[in-house]
């Protein structure tokens, strides 16, 4: 009844090629943006920012990046942690070498550097396919972490080997460092998330995205019809690493503030982002958000329920967290193997016909 395309006629080419052709979708999009930008910054507090919203936003960017590579282009990548580390270290070196330039530029430049590194490690994809490709990205994962640990230039010769983000300001408001307010952390991440999502959505809808999907579905056939596999695969790696690098820079500078590469950007991070992408739904921008929300918020919610509400000992709650997350993953996969995004799509389909059954 509300969610319909009947009676909605497009009168211009622009309107015809909108991202959200159905009016209800458009309004929903604007409402979500309004709430995110205009309402939440005023009600957010330190705990919500640090425990839920900021990690959710940052992982959403990483998941968008990985979704482009694995979901749209079909190249399995397990190097997400290391690429986030590249973004973080690039941001750190830029921040300490050019303290006067705005951190926003540093973050984007860090993304660019990560894109170059990602494209370089994506070269084996031209020869190796499927799960086996994961080995190239795993080599990247372990090698880069070792490199950042070993070469003192990366952490400015500090005695401890950790990097920490000095305080930086945007329009006079601190966004990194301990004096950052919750809403400032949240807003800077939100700006980057919105930008990334818009860019990613439009890229995947355009010819670049179609080339990626062609490679994913059947790369030999794609090559036959004229899709250059070198360009398509490397561009997928580059674009994906750009987003992952931005998320790594934000993770380091805004969220954590101090990072030790082995513990924070290890193989667990790579697996975590991959799980978000798979659970959220491969090949869908919304899926990146859904997966990130699931894997970031669910453990915190379970902990709140277990420890604060029910008063159980924290280690039992931690064990139950693992059990419940595992069960929910398996349950969702059985119910809807294509992820939460597919559930969303099916819901929208049904809503189009509501209240009629067919």
């Amino acid at each position: 009844m509300f969610y319909r395309e009947a009676g909605d006629f497009k009168t211009s080419y622009d309107a015809d090629s909108q991202t959200f052709p159905i009016a209800f979708d458009r309004y929903r999009y604007w409402v979500v943006l309004a709430v995110a930008f205009l309402v939440i910054p005023f009600v957010i507090n330190d705990y919500w920012a640090n425990a839920l919203l900021v990690p959710f936003l940052i992982y959403a960017i990483a998941a968008i990046g990985l979704n482009i590579l694995t979901g749209y282009c079909g190249q399995v990548s397990l190097g997400t942690g290391a690429f986030m580390a590249v973004g973080a270290y690039a941001c750190y070196k830029l921040m300490t070498a050019f303290p006067d330039i705005s951190i926003l530029i540093h973050i984007i430049l860090a993304g660019g550097i990560t894109a170059l590194v990602g494209a370089a490690f994506g070269l084996p994809s031209l020869r190796i396919k499927g799960f086996y490709l994961a080995v190239a990205t795993l080599a990247a994962q372990f090698f880069l972490v070792w490199l950042f640990n070993k070469v003192p230039w990366f952490y400015n010769n500090s005695a401890s080997g950790q990097i920490s983000a000095p305080e930086r300001f945007v329009f006079g408001i601190p966004v990194t460092g301990p004096n950052t307010e919750a809403w400032a952390m949240y807003l800077i991440c939100l700006v980057f998330v919105t930008g990334s999502a818009i860019i990613a959505r439009n890229m995947t809808r355009g010819s670049m995205g179609r080339k990626w999907m062609a490679i994913r579905d059947m790369d030999i056939a794609a090559e036959i019809i004229g899709v250059n596999p070198l360009r398509a695969k490397l561009s997928a790696f580059a674009v994906s690493s750009f987003f992952i690098g931005i998320s790594g820079a934000l993770f380091f500078a805004v969220y954590l503030g101090a990072v030790e590469v082995g513990e924070v950007f290890g193989i667990n991070k790579s697996f975590l982002v991959l799980f978000m992408v798979i659970i959220g739904g491969l090949g869908s921008i919304f899926g990146a958000f859904a997966g990130a929300a699931f894997l970031v918020c669910l453990p915190v919610v379970l902990k709140l329920i277990g420890v604060d509400l029910l008063g159980w000992p924290p280690d039992l709650v931690a064990h139950f967290q693992l059990v419940i997350i595992g069960l929910m993953i398996m349950f969702f996969l059985i119910k809807e193997p294509h992820g939460l995004a597919q559930l969303w799509r099916v819901a929208k389909e049904k809503l189009r016909l509501w209240p009629f059954p067919y």
């Binding site: 330190d46 919500w48 030790e260 513990e263 709650v317 931690a318």
Partner: protein
């Protein structure tokens, strides 16, 4: 709907705990799960048991009951941040994260939120400089002190001369493991021994190459800076290659019972540092009576008296003393974190006081000042007796190498101050 409920839930929990705060809140950022649970469980048990005993036996500190808020971090930095954020609102007085990674996160946050951080024997070593790190304390000793203590012990063993000996360091390839390298290099230059650092990648389950290298090179002494499974495997591999265990010395985080028991008899003679002297202290009887027998033990009660349990208890005792000192200075019993910070800065632990508390000689004597948050830096060397299944203290408290470490601390803290725009100086409240 769900989000609304959860908001209400979070708000009500925050409010509820806020209004109930007529007691002293001590958070316990523990890790009873994950790769380092073997070390985290006894430490947290000791910490909580001692505080619960204070409640049961003495009615708390200065008449105020202690409320422990445990939060499971799994040794994970992000969870550590989440635990910090969720517990700081409850009036947390002192944070002891027991993890170098989490400590680095919390140093700027705790400083900005004005809550003191006590990172005893771990964390950022240069926090000993109280003028730069007003809110961070790492008494009684830190990693660079540990390196100095080991070298001083070896000097004594070798009649004051280590020239031309080789010291190898098997270290966890992380910030924690790399801590002593700079100090040991400086000490190598001074005393003329060769220093050979050997890295072990996380988690340290596989160390065959490193120990084959040690077998080939035959260093005179091997030091270890490990944590978690790396300790157990290293000791096993050392026993396997037949390295003389009395020349194998680990730091105080590589010297617990669970590190040596998997290797069985092969671990006999392994030495480690300890910042505490362990033994059958009278306070354990009190803990048994008031806490374990009342069914209130933090864990399963089996860890009492072990190295890490004693250390956790020692950490709790230091927190107790800091709070008591704060109550003394400010004249109120319901202290705030800022008051506790003052209490920590005025702390003076004497042998008489430790005996009074039922733990004679459990730690070194030290006093904290505004400039020196690092304590005296003393440590003992203990040796594992596999037949009896006990650690035996070999020495009394040994001095560190202050002449080498003090300038290094100054240099590192100055760099931190420069990076973060801090003007060094005592905290003026």
């Amino acid at each position: 709907m769900k989000i609304q409920n959860l908001t209400a839930l979070a708000l009500s929990t925050a409010l509820a705990s806020g209004t109930a705060a007529a007691d002293l809140v001590l958070p316990d950022l523990s890790y009873r799960t994950g790769a380092y649970a073997a070390g985290g469980i006894p430490f947290s048990d000791g910490y909580q048991d001692y505080l619960n005993m204070l409640n049961a036996r003495d009615g708390g500190i200065g008449g105020e009951e202690i409320r422990i808020v445990e939060c499971e971090t799994g040794y994970n930095t992000e969870k550590g941040v989440e635990c910090y954020e969720s517990t700081k609102g409850e009036g947390a007085l002192i944070y002891q994260p027991l993890s170098t990674g989490i400590t680095y996160q919390l140093i700027p946050k705790a400083t900005a939120d004005n809550i003191p951080l006590h990172t005893m024997g771990y964390g950022r070593t240069s926090a000993a400089n109280g003028e730069v790190f007003n809110w961070v304390f790492n008494y009684p000793a830190n990693y660079w002190d540990a390196a100095g203590v080991i070298v001083n012990y070896l000097l004594e063993e070798n009649g004051g001369d280590l020239k031309d000996k080789t010291l190898a360091l098997v270290y966890h390839n992380s910030a924690y493991g790399k801590e002593p390298i700079r100090t040991l290099e400086a000490l190598a230059e001074v005393h003329g021994f060769k220093f050979n650092p050997i890295a072990v990648d996380h988690p340290g389950q596989e160390q065959k190459s490193q120990w084959l290298q040690i077998r080939r090179e035959r260093p005179d002494y091997v030091l270890m800076w490990g944590w978690g499974v790396m300790n157990q495997v290293a000791i096993q591999e050392a026993a396997n290659i037949g390295f003389p265990m009395e020349n194998f010395i680990g730091n105080w985080w590589s010297g617990a019972e669970h590190d040596v028991t998997p290797a069985g008899a092969g671990a006999n003679g392994y030495k480690s540092l300890n910042m505490n002297r362990i033994g059958d202290l009278p306070v354990f009887a009190d803990i048994k009576k008031h806490v374990h027998d009342a069914g209130n033990a933090a864990g399963d009660g089996s860890n009492i008296g072990t190295v890490l349990y004693t250390r956790g208890m020692y950490a709790a005792m230091l927190a107790q003393e800091a709070i008591a000192s704060a109550q003394d200075i400010h004249g109120v019993s319901d202290v705030t974190p800022a008051m506790v910070r003052d209490g920590m800065e005025a702390l003076d632990i004497t042998a008489a006081r430790m005996k009074e508390l039922g733990m004679e000689g459990v730690g070194p004597e030290f006093s904290v000042t505004c400039e020196d948050h690092g304590g005296s830096g003393l440590g003992i060397v203990q040796q594992w007796n596999a037949a009896d299944g006990k650690w035996v203290a070999l020495t009394d408290y040994i001095e560190p190498a202050d002449d080498i470490t003090t300038p290094l601390v100054a240099e590192d803290s100055a760099a931190f101050a420069a990076e973060n725009d801090i003007t060094p100086g005592c905290y003026k409240g």
